[in-house]
């Protein structure tokens, strides 16, 4: 039996009250609250109707606006149903915290590290939340850590933040 978008919405709404739905050309996006995030993700994975057993990616978007500036996006896939799904959750710029989803999918480990490295979003409970691409001491001259995919980060970087070897 094919999995319809309405089935997915039903499964998600059974565990979280506040789920808004965006459908674009048949592609479904669920926008959830941070408090409901883990419940929704666990249910989408473990419910025998949906079985979203494959986490494709986690990334974030910086909307460059006050308030809920960031949005973290989870790309899910269900191999049994050949279905795909996006789950989005807003993150307020004053509280850059989300619960980790490593317990749901082991694959979330590196994706969350990458999202932390690029946007500075802290995933509470992550077993090893270190920088992924950038050096551990990637910060400006005041000691503030830099997150390069934020919209306020200059494209060419901040001079002196990434040292070069000396030319002899």
């Amino acid at each position: 039996m094919a999995l319809s978008n309405n089935d997915i919405i039903q499964v998600a709404k059974a565990v979280a009250a506040d789920v808004s739905v965006v459908e674009h050309h048949g592609d479904l996006t669920l926008v959830v609250k941070a408090a409901d995030l883990l419940d929704v993700l666990y249910e989408l994975k473990d419910n025998p109707r949906t079985t979203f057993n494959l986490l494709i990616d986690i990334t974030a978007i910086d909307w460059a606006k006050p308030g809920e500036r960031y949005e973290v996006v989870y790309f899910l896939s269900s191999l049994a149903n050949a279905a795909r799904l996006r789950v989005k959750v807003g993150v307020h710029e004053d509280a850059l915290h989300l619960p980790t989803s490593v317990d749901v999918w082991e694959a979330a480990n590196w994706y969350e590290r990458e999202t932390y490295d690029m946007y500075g979003i802290i995933f509470d409970g992550h077993p090893d939340l270190r920088r992924f691409y950038m050096p551990e001491d990637f910060m400006d001259e005041h000691g503030t850590p830099l997150y390069p995919l934020r919209k306020d980060f200059p494209l060419m970087g901040i001079p002196g933040s990434l040292p070069l070897p000396p030319k002899d």
């Binding site: 050096p135 390069p148 980060f153 494209l155 060419m156 990434l162 000396p166 030319k167």
Partner: protein, 177 residues
């Protein structure tokens, strides 16, 4: 049989030790393949049978920097990688030469952004730049031939390693023509 008889029978060549050394050096440049990204595929073609860098004595890619005298930096060098490239360059014995292969290596290329070094000449002495994205193997051969000319024009310094030699510095070993 006297010396005169032997010379007239076998033939002889006169040269200087310096030109003999540069001749040997330029025809046996051992590349250190610093293949960091897509340019490395063309660098392999440069060593392969069609372009055949063994015609120039450079088929022996040295995967240990200590037996190499020509570093071909083929690919995008990020700030994080620059320390690795430099460390490998420092392990190569003098005299040594460097080719910046491709636009990324030469200038940063299309990656005009924060993590990419905008040209490896910011931290390495580059002898030849090769344009292209990626360059054809022929372009790399041209760069190799340019390095060969450069080697032929250089003067190898013959160092007395006897008791008067003292400390040898890198600057003593490099002679600019």
């Amino acid at each position: 049989m006297g010396l005169n008889d032997q010379i007239t029978r076998d033939g002889f060549v006169t040269t200087t030790v310096e030109s003999l050394i540069t001749w040997a050096q330029k025809n046996s440049l051992w590349p250190m393949p610093m293949g960091i990204s897509c340019c490395a595929i063309e660098m392999m073609a440069f060593g392969g049978p069609r372009a055949d860098s063994s015609r120039f004595g450079s088929e022996r890619f040295s995967f240990s920097p200590r037996q190499a005298d020509l570093m071909i930096v083929a690919g995008t060098v990020t700030y994080k990688m620059s320390w690795v490239v430099k460390k490998i360059w420092d392990q190569m014995p003098d005299p040594k030469w460097c080719i910046a292969m491709g636009v990324c290596t030469s200038t940063g290329g299309m990656f005009r952004s924060y993590p990419v070094v905008q040209g490896i000449d910011l931290f390495l002495p580059v002898d030849a730049y090769v344009s292209g994205c990626p360059p054809r193997p022929e372009a790399l051969i041209k760069a190799l031939m340019y390095i060969q000319e450069k080697v032929a024009e250089s003067k190898p310094q013959l160092i007395n390693l006897g008791k008067d030699s003292g400390d040898i510095r890198r600057s003593d070993l490099i002679v600019t023509p």
